[in-house]
């Protein structure tokens, strides 16, 4: 089986995100960028499937500007076999990404697509679901465990009420949750090998996909600052404030 994993270049999760002065978006210049943490989990899961003999080849794909190659190289350094970059300067919305992934699925015919449940920048949590819908494939979202059978996979999903297990016929789309695995760090020999692994660059036009944005961002603002607390004199005063000022009881 071949596995396609999608990896997105996002602002590193440790960085304190700042809104640009003109409110048009968030500051990304001179900011540390990394692979979306949920995508690291997707790569790790694919690697484990390969190590277990369930998969033979792992293709890491990313979409966006030239530097997304670095994110793909990171996946290759973790152990993925080859990379595909769909290069575009366009701001990509989840539907556009899903369409590009669909085009790549048609070219590559993988048995499984693994993507993060969401990217930590836009927090959309839509791409995997849209991809499954337009492919007409089954989907196992928010996966915390995968168990493979001959032509199906049992996916344990983290849902509000607890855990749900769904059985999907392959090929399928999986989106990863935090507890699926703990991603490895790229080993030194794999880092050195990554440069020699094949990487292909395509454009949305070559894949016949229109990625024109459909949503206009009106404004981006920082969340309101938390105000400092106050000290109240007595329990009565506290109850009074909770009831009449905060209106929570």
């Amino acid at each position: 089986m071949k596995i396609l994993v999608a990896v997105k270049r996002v602002i590193d999760y440790n960085v304190k995100v700042r809104v640009k002065a003109d409110g048009s978006g968030v500051e990304t210049s001179n900011v540390k960028m990394s692979m979306n943490p949920f995508d690291e989990i997707a790569v790790e899961e694919a690697l484990r499937l390969k190590e277990a003999g369930t998969a033979e080849e792992i293709v890491a794909v990313s979409m966006g500007i030239d530097r997304c190659q670095e994110t793909i190289r990171t996946a290759l350094a973790m152990g993925a076999d080859r990379g595909i970059l769909v290069q575009t300067e366009e701001e990509l919305e989840p539907l556009a990404v899903a369409k590009l992934l669909k085009a790549l699925v048609e070219r590559e015919s993988p048995g499984l697509v693994i993507v993060g449940k969401q990217a930590i920048d836009g927090d959309h949590s839509e791409t995997g679901q849209m991809l499954a819908a337009i492919l007409g494939w089954p989907q196992g979202t928010f996966a915390s465990k995968l168990e493979f059978e001959t032509d199906s996979v049992n996916v344990t999903r983290e849902v509000d009420g607890g855990l749900e297990i769904v059985k999907l016929k392959l090929p399928a789309v999986i989106t990863t949750d935090l507890r699926l695995n703990e991603p490895r760090f790229a080993s030194l020999p794999n880092i050195m090998k990554a440069k020699k692994k094949p990487m292909e660059t395509l454009t949305p036009a070559e894949l016949g996909v229109d990625v024109t944005p459909r949503v206009t961002v009106v404004e981006v603002v920082e969340p309101p600052k938390r105000k400092a607390g106050i000290r109240v004199e007595s329990v009565q005063a506290l109850v009074e404030k909770l009831r009449n000022e905060a209106k929570v009881i």
Partner: protein, 386 residues
């Protein structure tokens, strides 16, 4: 001039940083308090380092090492330097001097050390010979095809854990302009052979859990095949292979300094006194500014020296300057960092007091600050000597 790191170098930094944070930091406090790394913990960390391919990263790829160049190595040392000495040494970087191994020495010493099956230590210093190594009194006398070694070495790091020692001993004397000087030869000597014993050394204020030992040689007989490099050429071998060690110290000091600065920046931003974060007081904020500036200077010197080493243009004074500046920078920085933390800076709940204590030895070993200044000034003045 291009200071950009390659993507591989960035990944190496990330991998080593994750390794340090996940596998080493969690054990630091225990090591500080017990002055010991348990054999199980040591085995575990070593296994993980081998799995991650971080073990022997400095050694050539053809020999099974990581094949990193000096700049990448300096970056790796910087990250490893953040963690306690006793823990980070388990991600071993075998002494480069082992690359002088020839013939059977390669299979017996070099390769198993790269694979993590054996561990070396390096013995030059003696109770009577520190900075002035050529005055050493440990002797190796030729006797037929053998050498017979007598003498005492002290301050020998991790000799308690090592399987063998790269030993420097006098094999003769020569007349020089400045009087008689010893001719020195390097030997590979296995622990456990007759006439060689290792005793506990002293308790150091720096690097808890990382011990030094006293080595005693009493008519210890080794065959001539144990000579590393050529007879009488011990210092040539050392000079050829050990210059990177000063760079390693500089890089580790930069990493430690970065960790200390991160800790006290966060503290300065959050600790409130007199109604505001202490970072708003100039007495604190200017210290932070100086720390960041000196740290950057030390890092640039270290990386530039590594870059020279890669090109074969590193001079003795380059490595001396990087070592000298980075170690003295770390002393000032950790002292100020403790000051910014106030009393908490001295408590072992935080790694700061350790960083402060550990900084002290860096100005002494691998050539004291005075010896480094001597090297630098000698290079300046030499062209003017008649």
């Amino acid at each position: 001039m291009d200071f950009t790191l390659s993507h591989e170098q960035q990944l190496i930094v990330e991998t080593v940083r994750s390794f340090v944070e996940r596998e080493l930091y969690p054990h630091e406090l225990e090591v500080e308090r017990t002055d010991r790394v348990t054999p199980e913990l040591a085995k575990n960390i070593k296994r993980k380092a081998l799995e991650a391919g971080l073990y022997a990263a400095n050694m050539p790829e053809a020999l099974g090492g990581g094949g990193l160049d000096a700049v990448s190595m300096a970056l790796m040392e910087r990250e490893l330097g953040r963690a306690s000495m006793a823990l980070q040494m388990l991600v071993a970087r075998p002494s480069n001097i082992l690359q002088a191994c020839e013939g059977e020495q390669i299979d017996e010493y070099l390769l198993p050390t790269i694979r993590g099956e054996r561990l070396e230590c390096l013995a030059m210093t003696e109770p009577g010979a520190g900075s002035d190594l050529r005055s050493m009194s440990t002797r190796a006398d030729a006797d037929g095809d053998d050498y017979v070694i007598n003498g005492t070495k002290h301050f020998i790091s991790h000799a308690d854990l090592a399987d063998y020692v790269v030993l420097f001993a006098a094999t003769g004397e020569e007349q020089t302009a400045r009087g008689p000087k010893k001719k020195i030869t390097a030997f590979l000597v296995d622990k456990g052979i007759e006439g060689f014993s290792v005793r506990d050394g002293y308790h150091s204020v720096s690097h808890r859990g990382y011990h030094n030992s006293i080595l005693e040689f009493d008519d210890c007989r080794v065959p001539a095949s144990k000579v590393l490099g050529d007879v009488h050429c011990g210092f040539d071998v050392a000079n050829e292979w050990l210059s990177a060690t000063r760079l390693q110290i500089a890089a580790m000091c930069v990493g430690r300094g970065q960790r200390a600065l991160e800790l006290c920046t966060e503290w300065a931003a959050n600790r409130r006194q007199f109604g505001q974060p202490i970072g708003r007081f100039q007495g604190t904020s200017f210290k932070l500014a100086d720390m960041a500036m000196e740290l950057k200077a030390a890092e640039l010197m270290t990386l530039e020296t590594a870059w020279r080493l890669d090109r074969g243009t590193m001079r003795d004074e380059d490595a001396a300057m990087a070592k000298l500046y980075a170690t003295e920078m770390l002393a000032r920085l950790t002292d100020d960092a403790v000051q910014i933390f106030g009393g908490m800076g001295l408590m072992d709940e935080l790694p700061l007091e350790r960083l402060w204590r550990d900084a002290r030895v860096e100005r002494i070993w691998e050539g004291t600050s005075e010896i480094q200044r001597h090297i630098i000034s000698r290079a300046l003045l030499r062209p003017h000597e008649s």
